[in-house]
C-alpha cells in the first residue's frame, strides 16, 4: 500500500493547482512528494517496487488527483503507462532495471509516440530505430510528450526496417533535444515538450519486445493503461465540477431566490449528476474487467475513457454556466477543468477514433 492517502494528498495541494497552471509547472518538489508517497506506478506489484494497487484502487487515486489537477493526474498516467509496458513486455533484466526506479520516481518517464505525421494513426511514425553493432540508433521528432521537460527516459515508438519497435531512450543521451511547450489549452502544468532524437544511440537491451510488436503490444499496452487512468481522472474532474456547481447553486442568492431554485439550474445539475454517475460506473466496470484479466477489458476501457472524457467536458461546461462570471475568473478551478476536459477528449484516443473502435465492438452485438 502507499503510505499516504491519495485523497488527503490531493486535498493538501488543491489550493496550489491554479498557481501551477498559471506558471506552467507542477513543481519539482511536488513531483518528489508524489513519488515519495508511493503514488507513481502504484499498480506495480511489490516485487517490482510498486504498491500493488488493484485497478479499482489505482482508479480512485487517479480520480483523487484528477479532481484537483489534471497535470498531477497526468504525471501518474505517463509513469504508469511506461511502467505497464515494461512490466508486461520487458525481459526480466529490463524489469529489474527500470521498474523499481520508475516506482520510486528516481526515473521519470515520457511517452513519445506522436509525430508531425502520426497521431491517431501511429502506424505512420517515421522515427527510425536502426540496429548497429549492439546498439540502436534513434532518429526522429516526437510531439506533445507529457512531462517531457523533466523525463529521464522516453518510451519511443519508432520503425525498424518497416516494423514498429518500442525503444527506451534516456534523456541524457547525446543527440536528445527537449523543446518545452507552453501555453497549450489544458494540462498546462504537465511540462509538455517536443523531443528530437538526432542519431541518439542506446544499448540494444533498451529495445522492448521484438521488432514488429512495438505498436500492437508495447505501445498498445501503454495506451490501454493510459486510457484507464485518464478515464478515472475525468471522473474526478467531473465530480469536482459538479460539487462546485452544486455549492454555488445552493449558496448564491439573487433577488431573494437561490440559484438552485431556478428550474434551469436544477436541470443543469441533474444532467451533470447523471453524467458523473455514468462515468464512474463505466470506470468501475473497466476496473473490474481488468481485475479479472477479462479480454473485454480493452474494449471496456475504451468505452469508459470515451464516456468519461465526454461527460467531464459536459459537466465542466455546465458548471461554468452555473457559476457564470465566477467560472470565467483567471483562477477558477471550473475554468481550468473546462480547458483540461477538452484535452481529455483528444489524448489517449480522440473521440472520433474511439467511436470507430466502439463501432467495431458494437458489431459484436449482431444477432
Amino acid at each position: 500500500m502507499t503510505t499516504v492517502d491519495s485523497a488527503a494528498f490531493a486535498d493538501s495541494v488543491r489550493p496550489d493547482a491554479a498557481g501551477w497552471d498559471a506558471r506552467g509547472a507542477v513543481p519539482a518538489e511536488v513531483v518528489k512528494a508524489v513519488a515519495h508517497a508511493g503514488f507513481l506506478a502504484a499498480d506495480l506489484p511489490a516485487a517490482a517496487g510498486g504498491a500493488g494497487l488493484g485497478p479499482a484502487a489505482l482508479g480512485e487515486l487517479c480520480a483523487d488527483f484528477g479532481g484537483v489537477c489534471s497535470s498531477l493526474r497526468a504525471l501518474v498516467t505517463v509513469q504508469g503507462m511506461v511502467a505497464a509496458a515494461v512490466h508486461r513486455w520487458g525481459t526480466a533484466g529490463q524489469q529489474a532495471h527500470w521498474l523499481p526506479a520508475l516506482a520510486r520516481g528516481e526515473v521519470l518517464a515520457g511517452f513519445a509516440a506522436t509525430e508531425p505525421g502520426a497521431g491517431s494513426d501511429l502506424s505512420a511514425v517515421t522515427t527510425s530505430a536502426v540496429p548497429e553493432a549492439g546498439r540502436v540508433r534513434v532518429r526522429g521528432r516526437k510531439l506533445w510528450v507529457t512531462f517531457g521537460q523533466v523525463a529521464d527516459v522516453f518510451l519511443v515508438l519508432a520503425a525498424c526496417a518497416g516494423r514498429p519497435v518500442a525503444v527506451l531512450v534516456e534523456a541524457g543521451r547525446p543527440g536528445t533535444a527537449v523543446e518545452p511547450v507552453r501555453g497549450q489549452l489544458g494540462m498546462r502544468a504537465a511540462r509538455l515538450a517536443h523531443v528530437r532524437f538526432d542519431d541518439v544511440t542506446v544499448p540494444a537491451e533498451n529495445l522492448l519486445a521484438p521488432p514488429g510488436f512495438g505498436l500492437s503490444h508495447v505501445v498498445a499496452t501503454a495506451l490501454d493503461h493510459g486510457r484507464f487512468t485518464v478515464a478515472w481522472g475525468c471522473v474526478g474532474l467531473a465530480e469536482t465540477c459538479l460539487r462546485t456547481a452544486a455549492g454555488h447553486a445552493a449558496d448564491r442568492v439573487q433577488g431573494g431566490t437561490r440559484l438552485a431554485d431556478h428550474q434551469a439550474v436544477r436541470a443543469l445539475l441533474g444532467r451533470s449528476l447523471a453524467d458523473v454517475t455514468a462515468a464512474r460506473g463505466l470506470c468501475a466496470r473497466a476496473a473490474a474487467l481488468r481485475e479479472n484479466g477479462d479480454p473485454e477489458a480493452v474494449a471496456g476501457t475504451v468505452l469508459a475513457k470515451y464516456v468519461a472524457a465526454n461527460n467531464a467536458a459536459a459537466v465542466a461546461d455546465r458548471a461554468g454556466q452555473v457559476l457564470g462570471a465566477a467560472g470565467c475568473a483567471e483562477d477558477s478551478p471550473v475554468g481550468r477543468f473546462f480547458r483540461d476536459a477538452k484535452v481529455m477528449r483528444i489524448i489517449e484516443g480522440a473521440d472520433e477514433v474511439a467511436e470507430q473502435q466502439l463501432g467495431e465492438y458494437a458489431l459484436r452485438w449482431r444477432p
Binding site: L223, D224, G293, V298, R364
Partner: protein, 94 residues
C-alpha cells in the same frame, strides 16, 4: 464474448481451433479467417484486438504470454495459436 471463462477439460488442438474461430467470428463481425490464414496480413487485427487475443488465450487456457513468446510465428494464424497454447500448457507454464 463466449468462451472467456477458463477452460475445464484438457483442450485439444481441435477444440482450441474451434474456440478461436468463435473468438474471431465475434471480434471481426463474421470475417473469420481460415485456420492457416494470416489475420495480421489480412488486416483483421488492430492493436486493440491483438491485446484482446493475448488476454483471451491467457485467461481461457491458463497460460502466460511473456515477451519471449512474442514471435509472429506463434500468433499469425489460428492453427499457430493452437499449437502455441498446447506447447505452453505441456511445458507447465500456467
Amino acid at each position: 464474448m463466449a468462451g472467456q471463462q477458463p477452460v475445464g477439460a484438457e483442450p485439444t488442438a481441435e477444440t482450441i481451433l474451434a474456440e478461436l474461430s468463435g473468438f474471431f467470428a465475434t471480434a471481426t463481425a463474421g470475417h473469420t479467417p481460415g485456420p492457416d490464414e494470416d489475420y495480421f496480413a489480412l488486416g483483421l487485427v488492430n492493436s486493440l484486438l491483438a491485446l484482446e487475443l493475448v488476454a483471451y488465450v491467457e485467461r481461457r487456457y491458463g497460460i502466460e504470454v511473456g515477451v519471449e513468446d512474442l514471435d509472429l510465428d506463434n500468433f499469425r494464424t489460428m492453427n499457430r495459436v493452437a499449437g502455441f497454447v498446447l506447447r505452453k500448457r505441456s511445458a507447465g507454464i500456467r
